[in-house]
């Protein structure tokens, strides 16, 4: 029985040393080259040696047409690289996977996915609402960070405007100019906000939800309400803040024209002014 065969201790040491020195998993061919002929009777014994090391928990493997092997400690290094990839800015899963192809060389794709899943399970990576599209963002932060979304938005704008001949510098200058009038984000310490703080919070969250809001694109009030649910749980407080912003001329609120066809739940997601008008979206006024 193969299990009963003694371990080639010298050969095993060479395997472990080779894996220890490698920054990526190694296949049988590479490991074979790392073992001197004197340490192993025959190259044909190597697969059996590796099998025993895997069984003993000293190394790990991924079986495929060309199996690869690594030390358990390498997985932690790989996990650190995944976290590092997400440290700058949150990424969509497909974007992260593309990045990991070059960061985690030699790792089978399914293993890379498993490591990512484990990080999510261990709550070291979090899923956050996307800036655009439906796919969630992966982030090292548990809560959405406004600066992350702004960075993403600016990157997106740079990419979109490149075909039109705008440089990244021009876009950044324009963004700085557009954001100048906006006040600094408020520090939220308790649910008891004053009006000015609430309004600032709303304006800031509008831009997080849709960076194009800075140039007049609308934001759905139901989305905005949802995004602010932890800060402004009370419907009336939210509605009143929106109406104040509209009265001040800082935002334009757009009326829903056929509320008659909406359910009560759908109406509750809108902003009501108490005079029969329901509002569905808002835009920043220039």
């Amino acid at each position: 029985m193969p299990n009963d065969q003694p371990l080639h201790s010298e050969a095993a040491d060479f395997v472990l040393r080779a894996l220890n020195q490698s920054a990526q998993p190694l296949n049988v061919t590479k490991l074979g080259k790392a073992i001197p002929k004197s340490a192993l009777k025959s190259k044909k014994d190597l697969p059996e040696l590796l099998k025993q090391l895997v069984k003993a928990g000293q190394i790990r493997s991924h079986k495929a047409r060309s199996s690869v092997y690594w030390l358990p400690s390498l997985e932690e290094q790989a996990s650190a690289k995944i976290l590092e990839a997400l440290s700058e800015v949150p990424l969509k899963q497909t974007e992260l996977k593309n990045k990991l192809r070059s960061l985690l060389l030699g790792w089978p794709p399914s293993r890379r996915d498993e490591m990512l899943m484990r990080l999510i399970k261990e709550k070291r990576v979090y899923k956050l609402p996307p800036l655009t599209g439906k796919a969630k963002l992966l982030s090292v932060h548990a809560e959405p960070m406004s600066q992350d979304y702004v960075k993403l938005a600016l990157r997106l704008v740079v990419v979109r405007l490149k075909p039109l001949g705008f440089t990244a510098e021009q876009v950044m200058d324009a963004a700085r100019e557009a954001l100048k009038p906006l006040p600094a984000p408020p520090v939220i310490s308790s649910p008891q906000h004053d009006d000015a703080n609430l309004e600032r919070l709303i304006l800031e969250r509008m831009l997080q939800l849709n960076p194009s809001a800075a140039t007049g694109a609308p934001v759905q009030l139901s989305e905005l309400r949802h995004a602010l649910r932890s800060e402004i749980a009370d419907k009336d407080i939210f509605d009143q803040a929106i109406l104040r912003l509209a009265e001040q001329g800082r935002v334009a609120a757009h009326r829903h024209d056929y509320v008659g066809s909406l359910s009560q739940e759908e109406r509750d997601a809108l902003v009501f002014d108490g005079r029969g008008n329901y509002f569905i979206g808002i835009t920043l006024r220039a």
């Binding site: 694109a217 109406l243 509209a246 334009a252 609120a253 009326r255 002014d273 569905i280």
Partner: protein, 659 residues
């Protein structure tokens, strides 16, 4: 002069068609949105790619006004630039009252209608003529004045019936991608030379023409299966758009996007629209795609349209038309009133800048955010009217919604009758029938996935699936193929009830033996043959257009936008008798009489000759005169009879058609 003698400056509310010229245009209103659109036009002139903008706004906010202002601005710019400079863009207005399955055919139809529309500096020239002349000029194929050259060429063409060699040379030079098919080149040549305009236009719009017409146009017949027709429409739109240049770009304005949705859960129309925008984006150049939607639709767009398609839709800009502020409103009010010299003179004597109106009364229609242009103008119209009568009103008289809806529906029914053509039937059925069924209790639900080939509408009813095939093709291979597909479905899925719809103006003659045989086989398998009358189709067309207008917030009853639900409820309670007839023919359990082949033969004959004596019909169809008379009496709603006993038969047309 007193106020009583002056016309109400707020009488006309807002622009309802981008081809209209705005009566009063206050530049500062929606200036930012307008500037974004102008930037978009500049972008497609500067670079060869296509780009797009998405314009949001509530009903009556001025989306159509913005498009009209943009069109007028482009025209003014071109005029100022003079000959040899920047030219007026080709402008195409598309109101999307259509279904997902026919969206390219609808776009093709709108494109051709607008290309054949007279517009621009060239006196009497169509947009298509401007486009072709511009290209000929750009390639140095015209010497001297374009219009003189065209007049001379047309004279020669009429005399010698020769193709335009300069146009052929142009197409060879510019069409390296082979997008302009032989047929399209020939038809464009006819239109430029002013030959066979009616037939050439009909072919461009995708109408199914008889062989004699194709021979006259010297073009080849094309396949007319459903899938081919949609693909042909797609290819034709792309081919014509490929003629756009930096000097003469294309601007497509999509309006009434809301009408693509049967109900808030219906995704198919919006998905198809997103895909169409992406295709236009990828396959055209120097083209601007402006989509106008109500702010209400934003959620559905995000929910149903693919992210990539939505990104294409708003590539260059997402623009909002905000409610007017009080400052903007004052400017608009004053501009309207000062546009009338008599009123301006009267107003000069009053210190109040809004005289004869009062701020407090106007502001009653304002919300915290302001007021839409439509509501503002309607309010001012009422207040001005009251002031003319020497009295002030706090609240304008409540409009009678039922009367308004009745008039609106009747107006649309009349227009539908006037412009009724068999080629529109598929569009009316596929877009209108689901709406009609939705109104009548929502028991039938349209399925948009896994629709069998040959089926135009697949409906899920409590009694099982109902497949509707619109068999409107001209008798020939396309119709045979369609019936064959439906026949296979009847065999494979016997539980599916099948309804075959055909325009009553398209009789299947005795020579179409294979078509008749296949139809007979389908009828034996339980399929129903339904021929809606012209009046029923007009009623259905009016219904779908009214609902489309309601969905896009365009039903304006003196400033009040009539809610969709109000319209739906009213339509349900006031369903036209013709529509009830259609429903009766579709509902399971009713026994539909089989089509009478003898009647079809008479109808086909009358389609060609219009007025024929009974004796002549009997001789031609090898029947007795009394058999002909009896058949005509059985179908008295479609065959006219003169004389007693009947001597002459004639083709009966609807009231609107006869007008």
């Amino acid at each position: 002069m007193s106020l009583g003698a002056i016309i109400n400056p707020f009488h006309s509310s807002v622009v309802s068609d981008p081809w209209e010229s705005p009566e009063t245009d206050v530049v500062s209103v929606h200036q930012s949105a307008f500037e974004r659109c102008c930037e978009a036009v500049a972008a497609i002139r500067a670079r060869s790619h296509t780009t797009s903008a998405l314009v949001y706004g509530e009903a009556g906010s001025g989306k159509t006004h913005l498009l009209a202002r943009l069109r007028a601005h482009i025209a003014r710019e071109a005029e100022a630039d003079g000959p040899g400079g920047m030219q007026e863009a080709i402008f195409v207005s598309v109101r999307l009252h259509t279904s997902a399955r026919m969206i390219w055919r609808h776009l093709r139809d709108c494109l051709i209608v607008d290309l054949l529309r007279q517009s621009g500096a060239g006196a009497g020239a169509t947009q298509l003529e401007r486009l072709l002349l511009s290209l000929l000029n750009r390639h140095g194929l015209i010497n001297g004045d374009d219009h003189l050259w065209l007049a001379q060429r047309r004279q020669e063409a009429r005399r010698d019936n020769l193709p335009c060699r300069e146009l052929e040379e142009l197409f060879d030079r510019i069409d390296s991608a082979g997008r302009l098919s032989y047929n399209l080149r020939v038809v464009l040549g006819h239109l430029l030379m002013g030959r066979h305009r009616g037939l050439a236009g009909a072919w461009l719009r995708g109408e199914s023409l008889p062989e004699t017409a194709l021979q006259k146009l010297e073009i080849m017949p094309e396949q007319d299966g459903d899938d081919e027709l949609e693909e042909q429409a797609h290819q034709l739109v792309i081919a014509l758009s490929s003629l756009a240049t930096a000097e003469l770009p294309f601007v497509f304005c999509f309006d009434q996007v809301e009408a693509l949705q049967l109900d808030p859960r219906d995704a198919s129309g919006l998905i198809a629209f997103g895909q169409m925008i992406s295709a236009l984006h990828a396959e055209t150049k120097h083209t601007l795609l402006i989509s106008c939607v109500q702010a209400v639709l934003l959620g559905a767009l995000k929910q149903f349209v693919r992210d990539a398609d939505l990104d294409r839709m708003r590539e260059l800009a997402g623009v909002s038309l905000n409610p007017l502020t009080w400052d903007e409103s004052q400017q608009l009010i004053k501009a309207r009133m000062d546009a009338l010299p008599e009123l301006r003179r009267l107003r000069a004597a009053h210190p109040d800048p809004l005289w004869p109106l009062r701020e407090a009364e106007i502001k009653t229609v304002f919300t915290a955010s302001g007021c839409t242009a439509r509501r503002l103008i309607a309010r001012c119209a009422d207040l001005f009217e009251a002031q003319r009568g020497g009295e002030s009103v706090a609240t304008p008289a409540a409009p009678v919604v039922e009367v308004f809806l009745n008039q609106a529906l009747e107006e649309r029914r009349r227009k539908a009758l006037e412009s009724s053509e068999p080629t529109q039937t598929s569009q009316i059925i596929t877009h209108g029938l689901p709406s009609l069924l939705y109104l009548t209790g929502n028991r039938w639900r349209q399925q948009s996935q896994n629709v069998p080939v040959g089926v135009d509408l697949l409906l899920e009813s409590p009694e099982g699936n109902v497949a509707i095939g619109v068999c409107n093709n001209r008798p020939g291979p396309g119709l045979v193929r369609k019936l064959d597909q439906l026949h296979r479905l009847a065999k494979d899925e016997p539980a599916t009830k099948m309804i075959l719809l055909r325009d009553s103006r398209l009789p299947i003659g005795a020579t179409a033996t294979k078509t008749r045989a296949l139809r007979e086989q389908l009828l034996q398998k339980g399929a129903r043959w339904v021929e809606p009358s012209v009046e029923a189709l007009a009623a259905l067309d009016a219904l779908r257009r009214l609902l489309s207008d309601a969905k896009s917030g365009e039903l304006d009853n003196r400033g009040d936008t009539i809610e969709l639900k109000t319209v739906q409820d009213w339509l349900t309670q006031n369903l036209a008798v013709e529509l009830k007839d259609i429903l009766n023919e579709l509902l399971p359990g009713e026994v539909a009489p089989p089509p009478e082949e003898f009647y079809e033969e008479i109808a086909e004959l009358l389609g060609r000759q219009h007025v024929v004596s009974v004796a002549h019909v009997a001789a031609l169809l090898n029947k007795e005169s009394d058999e002909v008379e009896a058949c005509a009496q059985r179908h008295s709603e479609r065959i006219g009879v003169l004389g007693e006993p009947p001597l002459v038969l004639f083709r009966l047309v609807g009231e609107g058609l006869a007008a």
